[in-house]
């Protein structure tokens, strides 16, 4: 399946890219998506994740066509 992965803010700077497309097979969780996309980098503890622009748990499953985003705690307002 095809997954779009996006990164924001300090996480974007530390992984060195803002987005990438993954072609993967099998059932995957959000945490698995990170591991496939960043095999050499552990996800920082405070990372937040969203699938299709809604917050999700790292244990949630992803589906073909999903947009998965990783970002640090939000600091707007």
């Amino acid at each position: 399946m095809s997954i779009k992965v996006r990164y924001f803010a300090s996480l974007k700077e530390s992984v060195g890219r803002s987005e990438q497309c993954l072609e993967i097979t099998g059932l995957l969780t959000v945490a698995d998506v990170w591991r496939v996309a960043n095999p050499d980098k552990t996800m920082p503890d405070n990372t937040l994740a969203a699938v299709n622009m809604d917050y999700v748990a790292l244990t949630d499953a992803v589906e073909d066509g999903d947009e998965v985003a990783f970002f640090p705690p939000v600091t707007g307002g």
Partner: protein, 148 residues
């Protein structure tokens, strides 16, 4: 309800006035308006701040803000609400965020606007990077709790 993300400086009074005038059905019905404006300061954590860049997640930001306003409308009898949030490069003394809530009674306006503001701070995908007077850049790591 209106949610607006601005890449250019905005004038809070103009935004509130224009929105209120466009919301004809509210005229004569609202007794209370509670407005919060967050403005960029020229200092933070003991350092002089020269400017700030606000990044956001287009699409998700709007989606989350709409959800937050819907939650407030379920908890309090809110007649209408307006959120304006700045993104991009911001200078000290420029407004960052505006939350305005219209209700019949004042307690609901205070409660709902504060709820929206706190939820925005903890859930709306915005990120601030400060440019210090020393020319160093730093990402803000977390938000403060506005109920403390």
């Amino acid at each position: 309800m209106r949610i607006k993300i601005c890449a250019e400086p905005f004038e809070p009074w103009h935004e509130v006035q224009a929105y209120q005038q466009s919301a004809i059905s509210m005229a004569g019905k609202f007794g209370a308006t509670s407005i919060f404006i967050g403005t960029m300061r020229d200092f933070n954590d003991g350092d002089d701040i020269q400017g700030m860049t606000l990044e956001h997640y287009p699409g998700m930001t709007e989606k989350q803000l709409e959800k937050i306003v819907a939650e407030a409308m379920q908890q309090w009898p809110v007649l209408d609400a307006l959120i304006v949030h700045r993104v991009g490069d911001i200078l000290p003394n420029e407004p960052i965020v505006l939350v305005a809530v219209w209700t019949s009674h004042r307690g609901d306006a205070f409660d709902a606007s504060r709820y929206i503001m706190e939820a925005l701070k903890s859930r709306a995908p915005f990120w601030k990077k400060e440019l210090l007077a020393s020319q160093t850049e730093r990402w803000l790591l977390k938000n403060t709790d506005g109920y403390l």
